[in-house]
């Protein structure tokens, strides 16, 4: 205790910064190490080699793991294009991560970012191919549509929670499936489906609805990144500088106290979910408006809504933390694509690494005992409540 106090006195925020970064860093390192182990033990050819020639097998194992992580690094940070790919992948992750983070801060676990992305993206898609106008007019309209669509879909779960007590974890997961089937059906209707196609592919959005690229045609990073950063700033302002944000956080910290202080818990629950869904809707719009061929398919949300959960935890549900975590996950995704393309290591490994990061962030005592360090990190603690709340 005294040691820590001294450190704080000397370095100002130093001690706190060390605590804030130590566990996430070690969590990432541990997760990557376990990921390497998984690569090593899943190569059937090398496993067969261990019996005949252990030395050669060991060498090949090191090469496989080393090659994979080299590709992961080169694909994420190794060139200007790689950095652009990282930022490109980070954009929807930041938006969806903010969505989950807002929910966490208000004590609601929104696992439905994926479905809200689908509904938001489909709304943006519909507006984007129906109307034709210059970017300055059409893009804001499509993005607004995505916000409304996502907010509506999440609002259903909020309303069910507030009115009937149905837990948002279950309802949002079910709404994910419903959104996916709804999109599958919509994409085959004459309104959405591209003329002359029999598979579920939509018409492309008009040029005015496409997100312009930031650094010319060679790099895929778009204005979406700026929107994501602006959204992080907005969430920071909303949660910490407005009375609405104060009410959100109070409901999260203690719903009973919020109720007795005269806050409208029913309305707040719906509003929190809607805010969260709006951000997820933007993430969905980014997946359609942000990359060629600017069409809707059945899988455009690509699991980002689930990655967002790990991301929000890693970023401690704080907007700035989510931005950093989003950049990290963006790097993992961009690098993972390279790893899959060059080294033929399936990108699903990134999911495994993310799951491990969640575990280590949520249980810092695990990290402490693995690395034999001291930290005051208490982990995420209890965020959610039981079914009957």
């Amino acid at each position: 205790m005294s040691e820590r106090t001294t450190m704080d006195q000397i370095t100002g925020v130093g001690g706190r910064l060390r605590d804030a970064l130590l566990v996430p860093t070690l969590a990432l390192i541990t997760a990557l190490l376990i990921g390497g182990l998984i690569i090593a033990v899943t190569d059937v050819d090398i496993l067969r080699l261990w019996g005949d020639d252990p030395a050669e097998a060991f060498k090949q194992t090191l090469e496989a793991v080393g090659g994979a992580y080299k590709a992961l690094f080169v694909g994420s940070l190794g060139s200007v294009n790689a950095i652009s790919e990282t930022l490109f992948a980070a954009t929807p992750l930041i938006l969806a991560g903010l969505a989950v983070a807002v929910g966490f801060q208000a004590g609601l676990f929104n696992i439905g970012a994926e479905g809200q992305m689908v509904i938001g993206g489909m709304t943006a898609l519909f507006l984007g191919f129906t109307f034709d106008a210059p970017t300055i007019i059409l893009l804001p309209i499509t993005l607004l549509g995505a916000i409304v669509g996502g907010a509506f879909w999440a609002g259903i779960a909020g309303l069910l929670r507030a009115k009937t007590g149905a837990h948002e974890v279950i309802t949002t997961i079910m709404l994910n499936f419903i959104a996916l089937f709804l999109a599958q059906w919509l994409l085959k209707t004459s309104v959405f489906q591209q003329t002359g196609r029999s598979d579920p592919i939509s018409k492309p959005v008009n040029e005015g609805a496409q997100l312009p690229r930031l650094f010319g045609d060679d790099y895929r990073v778009t204005v979406g990144l700026l929107i994501a950063l602006a959204a992080a700033g907005f969430v920071q302002w909303l949660m910490y500088h407005t009375s609405i944000g104060f009410q959100y956080r109070t409901v999260g910290a203690n719903p009973d106290a919020a109720k007795y202080a005269g806050m409208n818990v029913v309305w707040l629950t719906v509003a929190v979910m809607a805010t969260s869904g709006a951000l997820a809707g933007l993430a969905g719009a980014n997946q359609i408006l942000g990359l060629p061929p600017y069409e809707g398919t059945t899988a455009f949300s690509g699991g980002i809504g689930f990655d967002a959960i790990a991301l929000a935890l890693l970023g401690r549900s704080k907007p700035l933390g989510v931005v950093w975590a989003g950049l990290l996950f963006g790097a993992l995704t961009a690098g993972g694509r390279q790893m899959q393309g060059v080294e033929r290591i399936p990108i699903d490994l990134v999911e495994v690494i993310q799951a491990l990061i969640i575990v280590f962030i949520a249980a810092p005592a695990l990290v402490r005992s693995i690395w034999r360090i001291k930290t005051t990190d208490e982990g995420t603690g209890q965020i959610t409540t039981g079914w009957s709340a």
Partner: protein
């Protein structure tokens, strides 16, 4: 504001949840009655006979056909539903209300199927059989959730436990035979259960976050291995399956025999588990202790029950049940593992647990309802209804939302559910 408005206003305030629910149920019965009349009975094709097949080819009593005119069927169903609505309005059904609601749903579906099958024949027994088969993994998920929540541990990771054990069942089953595969699946279920238990009991990680981590981990790892191991080595994805074991005599009972007595060990095992857990939970020392840990861990602790050990044991046992259910998905079904093949079954199992009010037979009943919704979706495609298949695919998920939103009455979970226990 008039006096009438005032009266309405105060009536609204005084309405208890039961009264509210009774009013909703009345509305549901009347709405269904009117819907059946207009949508099904007045349909122009409703006078063409529909045939429900009640026996499968090669059955001893094949064929048993039930031929009827959909219009008459719809009118009868409509009248019964309206009657139920009147009775519900006047006096209600008391503790039988869920059973009556279930019966009303069955009638509605019968009228619907009659309408869809007008002028055609439809294998009713085929649909009921697939309902039972599809309910097996849902029951497993529900029983897993029940084992955990009876000791106040919420298990959101059932989906991952099912997926992980389905995968291991396939890969071990392909290399070492189906029985070893089954054991491997159960072992992985236990391992994932133990992981959840350590995280939430020892490290006091938020129970829902721990479960979500298990789900993402299992989905990521199985998809990774499916591409990296099963893809280039298809011989690891061809386990010997558990075939049908018909039970003599009982298998010849029409309809029931096909549903319950001509199946594989997974259905029989699941039915046995339902009975065993029911007896264990309500008639043994283990059950009493488990329930007390779930309701009031502090009191249980004071009486000398080891809260932590009870929780570890039940969560791991629950994981083993999920392992059995996961094996059913591969070894008891297609025999092939596919990425994300559970597709929400674990979560539907959780909903079945809530629907079934944390009781084993309730879980089984709820799982049959979900199995029915899935079976319906699979078989309706054959009849060519104008309803898009995507909407039929949504049905189980919509039913789940309705269930957890409490249309079937608010159930009370174990009192300490979801809370970590910190020993003083």
């Amino acid at each position: 504001m008039t006096t009438v408005d005032h009266a309405l206003e105060s009536a609204k305030v005084r309405a208890t949840p039961e009264e509210k629910r009774s009013r909703i149920l009345t509305g549901v019965y009347f709405a269904l009655s009117v819907f059946v009349l207009f949508a099904f009975a007045f349909d122009e094709d409703a006078d063409m006979d529909a045939t429900f097949k009640l026996a499968l080819p090669r059955d001893r009593f094949e064929p048993i056909d039930w031929v009827f005119e959909p219009r008459i069927m719809s009118i009868v169903v409509s009248i019964i539903l309206a009657t139920l609505g009147v009775v519900q309005l006047l006096r209600g059904f008391g503790r039988w209300d869920n059973v009556v609601l279930g019966g009303a749903m069955v009638l509605f579906v019968l009228a619907f199927l009659g309408w869809a099958a007008a002028g055609q024949s439809f294998s009713l027994v085929g649909m009921l059989t697939s309902m039972v088969v599809l309910s097996v993994p849902v029951t497993a998920g529900g029983l897993t959730g029940l084992m955990c929540e009876r000791v106040a541990v919420i298990n959101i990771g059932i989906e991952g436990q099912l997926l992980g054990s389905a995968f291991v069942g396939t890969i071990v089953g392909s290399t070492a035979g189906r029985w070893v595969g089954l054991l491997g699946a159960i072992a992985i279920g236990a391992l994932l259960g133990a992981a959840l238990a350590v995280l939430v009991i020892k490290y006091r990680v938020d129970q829902i976050i721990a479960g979500v981590a298990i789900n993402i981990f299992a989905l990521g790892l199985t998809s990774f291995m499916a591409t990296r191991v099963l893809g280039p080595n298809p011989e690891f994805n061809e386990p010997e399956r558990f075939g049908t074991i018909a039970i003599p005599v009982l298998e010849d009972i029409p309809v029931i025999g096909n549903m319950f007595f001509k199946n594989n060990i997974f259905l029989y095992g699941m039915l046995l588990l339902v009975v065993l857990i029911h007896i264990g939970l309500f008639h043994t020392r283990w059950g009493l202790r488990s329930r007390s840990v779930g309701e009031h861990p502090k009191a249980a602790d004071t009486l000398g029950i080891n809260v932590y050990r009870t929780r570890y044991r039940n969560v791991i046992l629950g994981g083993m049940i999920a392992g059995f259910g996961g094996a059913a998905l591969t070894l008891g079904s297609t025999g092939r593992f596919e990425e994300n093949m559970t597709a929400g079954v674990g979560f539907i199992g959780l909903a079945a647990m809530i629907f079934g009010r944390w009781r084993p037979f309730g879980v089984l009943g709820a799982a049959l309802v979900f199995g029915f919704a899935r079976g319906l979706q699979q078989k309706l495609g054959i009849l060519g209804t104008p309803i898009p298949s995507e909407f039929l695919s949504m049905a189980p998920y919509i039913v789940t939302i309705i269930v957890v939103a409490g249309l079937v009455g608010r159930a009370r979970p174990p009192a300490a559910d979801g809370q970590p226990y910190i020993k003083d």
